[in-house]
């Protein structure tokens, strides 16, 4: 009854739209599926509608309350004034394409930054810091408290019979988990550890130190992340820079006498444990490298987080001897085993392209994630290896996002032998800060979360969720490739040629950042580029657009809000951010990765 009344109210708001009304009245005849009960209700509503319209007219005539009535029952066309967004409410949202299943998202009473932070009263504090897929029923997760748990029945559609089994304990803030040669390997604050169940009771008995020897001062920020295996079977880890040393922490640092920087040994470096057991420093300049991952070719990458010397979050290709950005890591430059030498000065406060010119040892990130637009703190890197089971993005990378409890997506290509590419918003709305992702056997992503010590969006302080493709194809920019005089966009669905060939459907900006010792950087030297023309491919799946004024090393921000698919639907995410470290010199016909 109440619902019916409500519906009357809703319909009633359209009272001025006479043509629509006529159509509505007529519609029941033309709609064969409206039968029986439904038809009678339809009929009654129609009658009602007329009744109401007449009554309204009476009210208008007799009381003359036109304005107050309009104010009670606002008219739709007035409502759209100044808010063209509302038109898009039919786009559907991310959940239509990727839905989130909550395996554990408990409520905690304390704030994520409370010094007296407490986990939820019942259950395991599932501050997931590492995920290893075991099989098509179970995953193992490491948690920040220092334990490894094996969870069963985690793929259930309604995960209400998940069981928890403790596999390991007494670890010092492990921040990664890898299934490796029938054992689980993690990286703790002080070492890389292999955990083995020897006696078959599913509880680790052997905690074997696979690697250690990096420095630490006791500073809270000295996190160690990993491991990540490379194609040769080496195990990689990354080491945070220490921040705000206190007391005698400085005394545990090494220093570079020329650069006058000081940090514990190998802080800000990536290290590799080789199969002979040696741990070698590989590359430097990291600030807070909380994610390591491989792309489809098996090349390794890491993510970094905005802060001092780091303008905004970034994705970097891990290579021997490379320096990325944080100069305090160079405290270890002259230590035995270092792969970097000869850096004698660090520019401070230069626009990034100028800094690269002056500081030739520095290599730019493959992708910048513009602040807020593509997250506030990048974390894990996950390669979609599902061959389509997780949707149209096979072979691309997903990047965890801590503060915004979200995930971004990355497309990479090689130009002049170096990786560069674009990032795109992908999915928001997780229950807490996304720190870890792992792809299950069915292609879905397990998402490990914890926001303690910082802050994040979401409803929980920690937990485990699963992101599942619904099977519905989202309308997205699949790829964005650099061209000598513009970009080429690949879409997941054919575009409407009219909209997509209209240059006004796009807006392109470029900007860069300051390389500086202070925290982060604003976007600087922002310039809008004009789109001269856009050419839609015959299959409607790609668009080549032409512009002038591409700038090397600048982020090129595309807003393709005007592009529609053949059904007139706009893009689910119209933004793309391309980091143009190199402008291709020739148009290549083959879109080789």
């Amino acid at each position: 009854m109440v619902n019916t009344l409500r519906k009357i109210g809703a319909e009633f708001q359209n009272w001025r739209k006479l043509p629509a009304c006529v159509f509505w009245i007529a519609s029941w005849k033309r709609t064969p599926h409206i039968t029986g009960e439904k038809r009678s209700r339809h009929y009654c509503q129609t009658a009602l509608w007329f009744g109401l319209a007449v009554a309204t007219a009476m009210v208008h005539i007799t009381i003359g309350m036109d304005t107050s009535l309009a104010e009670e029952l606002p008219v739709n066309d007035a409502r759209s004034n100044g808010s063209s967004h509302d038109r898009r409410s039919d786009v559907g949202d991310e959940a239509d394409y990727y839905r989130i299943v909550s395996i554990a998202t408990p409520q905690t009473a304390t704030d994520s930054r409370d010094p007296n932070w407490k986990p939820a009263e019942d259950g395991i504090p599932l501050e997931v810091s590492g995920i290893a897929i075991l099989d098509d029923r179970r995953v193992a997760v490491s948690i920040r408290k220092g334990e490894v748990w094996i969870l069963d029945h985690v793929y259930d559609e309604v995960p209400d019979r998940v069981t928890f089994h403790q596999f390991a304990s007494a670890l010092h803030e492990p921040l990664g988990l890898l299934k490796w040669n029938n054992a689980l390997v993690t990286v703790q604050r002080t070492e890389m550890t292999r955990m083995v169940d020897i006696d078959g009771d599913e509880v680790a008995d052997l905690y074997e130190t696979l690697a250690s020897g990096w420095g630490l001062s006791g500073n809270y920020h000295e996190y160690a992340y990993g491991p990540q295996a490379d194609r040769d079977g080496n195990l990689w880890l990354t080491l945070n820079i220490g921040m705000g040393f206190q007391g005698d922490q400085r005394s545990r640092c090494v220093s570079d006498p020329i650069l006058k920087v000081s940090q514990p040994l190998w802080r800000g470096w990536a290290m590799k444990r080789e199969s002979d057991g040696h741990l070698r420093p590989i590359c430097a300049g990291m600030r807070s490298p909380s994610g390591i991952g491989a792309n489809a070719e098996g090349d390794l990458f890491y993510t970094d987080q905005q802060g001092n010397w780091v303008a905004t979050n970034s994705l970097h290709h891990l290579r021997e001897g490379v320096f990325y950005h944080h100069p305090e890591s160079l405290a270890s430059m002259t230590q035995p085993g270092s792969t970097i030498e000869g850096i004698t000065s660090i520019p401070d406060g230069l626009p990034y392209p100028d800094a690269l010119k002056q500081f030739t040892a520095m290599r730019p990130p493959a992708v910048w994630f513009p602040y807020k637009k593509a997250g506030q703190s990048a974390t894990d890197i996950l390669l979609d290896q599902s061959d389509g089971k997780f949707g149209p993005f096979a072979g691309q990378l997903f990047i965890g996002e801590f503060t915004q409890a979200a995930m971004n997506r990355v497309f990479l290509e090689k130009v002049d032998g170096e990786y560069q590419g674009a990032c795109f918003p992908f999915r928001r709305g997780f229950a807490s800060a996304v720190l870890r992702m792992a792809q299950g056997t069915d292609g879905s992503l397990f998402v490990g979360m914890t926001n303690r010590g910082w802050s994040s969006l979401g409803t929980s302080s920690y937990g485990l969720q699963r992101l599942v493709w619904t099977g519905k194809l989202p309308f997205e920019i699949l790829e964005m490739r650099a061209k000598p005089d513009g970009f080429e966009l690949q879409f997941t669905r054919p575009v409407d040629p009219n909209a997509a060939s209209n240059p006004a459907s796009y807006r392109l900006n470029s900007y860069t950042y300051l390389y500086q010792s202070t925290y982060g950087s604003d976007e600087i030297q922002t310039r809008e580029l004009s789109i001269d023309r856009a050419v839609v491919a015959e299959d409607g799946l790609s668009v080549r657009f032409y512009t002038s004024g591409l700038r090397r090393y600048f982020v090129h921000e595309l807003d393709a809000s005007g592009v529609l698919d053949v059904d007139g639907q706009p893009l689910l995410h119209p933004y793309a951010f391309y980091t143009l470290n190199a402008i291709p010199k020739i148009e290549s016909e083959l879109a080789a990765p």
Binding site: V59, H85, W117, L206, Y207
Partner: protein, 872 residues
């Protein structure tokens, strides 16, 4: 209207029949009349506290009139020394905030476009044509006011999504709107389910009595419905962006502070904006049970979508494009000044108009047009009650300060100023003070506890303010008003205390103390009689134990509470309250705070703990104060400490427990191992060093597990004994007499069937297995086993072994172990060694070999384990 409701109720119960359809139709017709007649009533300006108290003569008519003088901003034009005008929104960014249509509608008829608005129609004296022209000019001028919204800095502690205002979730917004406190002033949605709150005896009484009886019993106010501050048509007025920005920072746009800052995070503001923009206005007359009301708004339409603008170029932040017609803009600017708009609204450099001061107004003349509808160019739409109250207040102002209460600075005047501010800011919507105000009868259901626990009204309703100035220090009150997060003492309530940055509210911090008779004497004075000459440190312990007896049964301490207890945290009491109040309140809570749940621990001023401090109540309360002031020196009250330990203390019972951590005396590679026997140790894994042993409790793991700043921890128990200090393993050539430390590489540990770890190290050409367990003598028993390193290459990780070649001259086979360390080591027997710290080490080995006394080292052999017993 009652007929309509009854009809509807009946129709709702019936089956789907033809009769029912007829009834629906009828009901629909009635509904329309119902709505229109109600809106017709809302022509008059709505001032929340006037409607609630002034209209019903629950405050003096003068005061009621004065509230209107400020809230209708009369004194913005007719200046008065005593009553400052509320003033209107600042308009610097108005063109980015409201839609053009709404602005035109609003200027055409303010009270129609926004029912209850306090802005008068200043164009009512114009002919329709010149009114139209004036509006066009004003809109043109206002269209040029395009100031940016305040910058919103994102950071690790402040998540701000890109275009966050487009990402609101209306369902979440509905929850926030109803839970955080919006409905303290604004109308709730009849659809929103609230927790069932059992009707109190007083509620039942209120239901039974008729109006006359209620009035007779002084319950009329309690029984009366509190009218809601109308919201107007927000969807027509605002964009998602501008509404979100307003909700996030209302004081920026409306400096009057009447709409307080609800401490919303950006995403929360977006959620509420999404909800408010999608919801149709609820009926102003929400039925007591919410069910009988005809609703005209649709629900269930979610706007939790990503809604980027359809054309590239980013968000459509500009609601009104700036006019390029400079003449028209200039015309509007002039009008803005001459019409007196600038008297209330800041909009750049605009001259405001001067009118007669309030005291000089002649209410009998035709110039009293503001008070009489249609009499002049300015129309407020006042109803007769409002006009009468204003008349009284203006007349009193004209007479000048004749009564005591109007003499500036007098006690009564201060008291009235306090009440006036509380009325103006509508503090009474949530708080009671001296029997006035409080959450309205039909709104109470929206005030809940976070967990749904039933804690009575004290646990869900904002605290009463009677006598608050006697209790709370002005410094604390100011922190509360400015929204210092540390002042949130009731996290168990869904309602939030908003931020009130307005200067009038800040001034309350001091005024309340004056009115309520605060005694700001320091503790030393208040407790002078009882604690004179007593050291704070000795009574602090007593205070801690007293607090541990009673207070903690209902209060939390340092974020820790007894099981099931939800109560205000006592940790910072001395920061908040005056010592004098503390003393009085603890002595007799009921006398200070009526109907409090706080029991008296000193009935008739007598302590229940006669053996403590001679049973002297004041001394005991002083001791509690001492403790609260220095609690960090005395530790937590016993039961609270035990409760915390339950969650974080590692207590080995069946098998050993371990913790890797940073530890004082052990280092950054500490591995602590605790045994059910009550003897524990920690090793420094980087040096294969048995660093310390201790007894009784093992460790508290809280800071290692959950604290961001990873402090070094200490053993929890007692009799902490340092054991090995430095390197323990050496290459040694007796001829050289100088042992050379051999670098150690930690290889991990293996747990046996009873989960005792055996640590493994690589040391030169050897592997060492190190197993330490409790000894029957209440000490530790250690077994060192030396193994030839078959697979090791003697090369550590990274650069870890720069000087691993100290094997002197040819004694590479030998690895030596330092048994004990110290300046004054003695050897009571051949096999035992003792140092100055009280440590005794017994060496058990069949083949006892020489100990080099200068170094206290002995060789290790692969053929035989070395067993050591540590006692202290």
């Amino acid at each position: 209207m009652i007929v309509t409701r009854r009809l509807l109720a009946r129709a709702g119960a019936g089956p789907m029949t033809k009769t029912r359809h007829t009834i629906i139709l009828l009901a629909g017709l009635f509904a329309i009349f119902h709505i229109t007649s109600l809106t017709a009533q809302t022509k008059a300006p709505f001032v929340a506290s006037f409607e609630r108290f002034g209209r019903h003569a629950e405050v003096e008519e003068v005061l009621a009139g004065e509230i209107l003088l400020s809230e209708l901003s009369c004194t913005a034009c007719h200046a008065s020394g005593r009553i400052s005008a509320k003033g209107g929104p600042q308009l610097d960014s108005v063109a980015r905030r409201v839609s053009e249509q709404w602005l035109r509608d609003y200027l055409t008829s303010p009270a129609t476009a926004k029912p209850g608005t306090t802005m008068p129609d200043v164009l009512s004296g114009l002919t329709p044509q010149s009114k139209d022209e004036a509006i066009t000019a004003l809109v043109a001028f206002l269209s040029t006011l395009q100031a940016d919204f305040p910058t919103l800095k994102a950071g690790g502690a402040n998540p701000v999504e890109f275009e966050f205002w487009k990402k609101g979730d209306a369902d979440r917004g509905a929850r926030f709107y109803h839970q955080l406190g919006c409905v303290a002033c604004h109308a709730p949605d009849a659809d929103y389910d609230v927790a069932e709150i059992a009707a109190s005896p007083i509620d039942r009484l209120l239901d039974e009595l008729d109006p006359d009886e209620l009035a007779e019993m002084g319950l009329a106010s309690t029984a009366r419905r509190v009218e809601s501050v109308p919201l107007g048509d927000l969807a027509l007025k605002y964009s998602l962006h501008s509404l979100t920005r307003f909700l996030f920072q209302p004081e920026h746009f409306r400096p009057s502070g009447r709409m307080p800052n609800m401490k919303l995070a950006p995403d929360e503001a977006a959620d509420i904006a999404a909800y408010l923009r999608q919801r149709r206005k609820p009926l102003p007359d929400l039925g007591p049970d919410g069910a009988e009301v005809v609703k005209t708004f649709e629900s269930g339409h979610s706007v939790s979508k990503l809604m980027p603008s359809s054309a590239p170029g980013g968000p459509d932040d500009r609601m009104i494009s700036p006019s390029t017609n400079t003449a028209l803009v200039e015309n509007g600017r002039q009008l803005f000044s001459t019409l007196g708009c600038a008297n209330c609204h800041s909009a750049g450099e605009i001259v405001s108009q001067r009118f007669k001061p309030l005291e000089e107004l002649n209410l009998t003349a035709t110039s009293a047009s503001c008070l009489v509808e249609g009499a002049g160019s300015v129309t407020y739409g006042l109803d007769s009650v409002q006009a009468a109250a204003l008349n009284v207040a203006i007349n009193v102002a004209k007479i000048g300060p004749t009564t005591h209460s109007q003499i500036e600075g007098s006690e009564l005047a201060v008291g009235q100023a306090v009440v006036r501010t509380l009325l103006q800011m509508n503090c009474y919507a949530c708080h009671t003070r001296d029997d006035l105000g409080g959450v309205g009868r039909y709104r109470r259901g929206y005030f809940e506890t976070v967990t749904g626990a039933d804690l009575g009204d004290e646990g869900r309703l904002p605290p009463p303010l009677s006598g608050i100035g006697r209790k709370l220090k002005p410094t604390w009150l100011k922190r509360v008003f400015r929204g210092d997060p540390e002042t949130t003492l009731r996290p168990h309530m869904t309602i939030r205390m908003p931020t009130f940055p307005h200067a009038d509210v800040t001034a309350l911090a001091d005024l309340l103390g004056k009115v309520d008779g605060a005694n700001p004497a320091p503790a030393s004075q208040v407790f002078a009689n009882s604690t004179a000459g007593t050291e704070a440190s000795s009574t602090g312990t007593i205070g801690r134990d007293l607090i541990g007896i009673g207070c903690i049964e209902c209060h939390a301490f340092e974020g820790q509470a007894m099981p099931g207890v939800i109560g205000v945290d006592l940790t910072n009491v001395p920061e908040r309250v005056f010592p004098s109040w503390f003393l009085d309140f603890i002595l007799n809570p009921g006398q200070i705070k009526s109907r409090t749940r706080m029991p008296s621990f000193f009935p008739d001023g007598k302590s229940q703990v006669p053996q403590t401090l001679g049973g002297d109540a004041t001394k005991q309360i002083a001791a509690m104060w001492d403790y609260l002031e220095h609690h960090d020196q005395f530790g937590l009250p016993g039961k609270i400490a035990a409760e915390r330990a339950k969650n974080y203390q590692l207590s080995p019972t069946d098998h050993p427990l371990m913790l890797r951590t940073f530890m004082n005396g052990v280092g950054l590679h500490a591995i602590a191992v605790g045994f059910p026997e009550g003897v524990h140790f920690a090793v420094d894994a980087s040096e294969a060093r048995l660093a310390i042993g201790w007894r009784k409790e093992f460790v508290d793991a809280r800071s290692t597990w959950f604290e961001r700043f990873t402090p070094l921890i200490d053993p929890l128990g007692c009799e902490v004994q340092p054991i090995d200090k430095g390197p323990s393993f050496f290459n040694f050539d007796p001829l050289d007499e100088v042992p050379v430390a051999v670098p150690i590489e930690f290889l991990g540990y293996q747990l046996d069937s009873v989960r005792v770890p055996t640590f493994q190290y690589r040391c030169g050409d050897y592997r060492i297995e190190d197993r330490i367990v409790p000894d029957a003598s209440d000490g530790l028993r250690r077994r060192l086993r030396l193994l030839a390193d078959s697979d090791g290459d003697g090369n550590g990780n990274g650069n870890g072994n720069g000087n691993g070649n100290g094997n002197g001259n040819g004694n590479a086979d030998e690895l030596w172990f330092r048994v004990i360390e110290g300046d004054q080591v003695s050897q009571p027997t051949k096999q035992s060694f003792r140092n100055q710290s009280g440590l005794t080490v017994q060496v058990h080995r069949s083949n006892q070999t020489p100990v080099y006394k200068s170094q206290w080292i002995i060789p290790l052999h692969t053929s035989e384990d070395l067993e050591l017993i540590y006692q202290w």
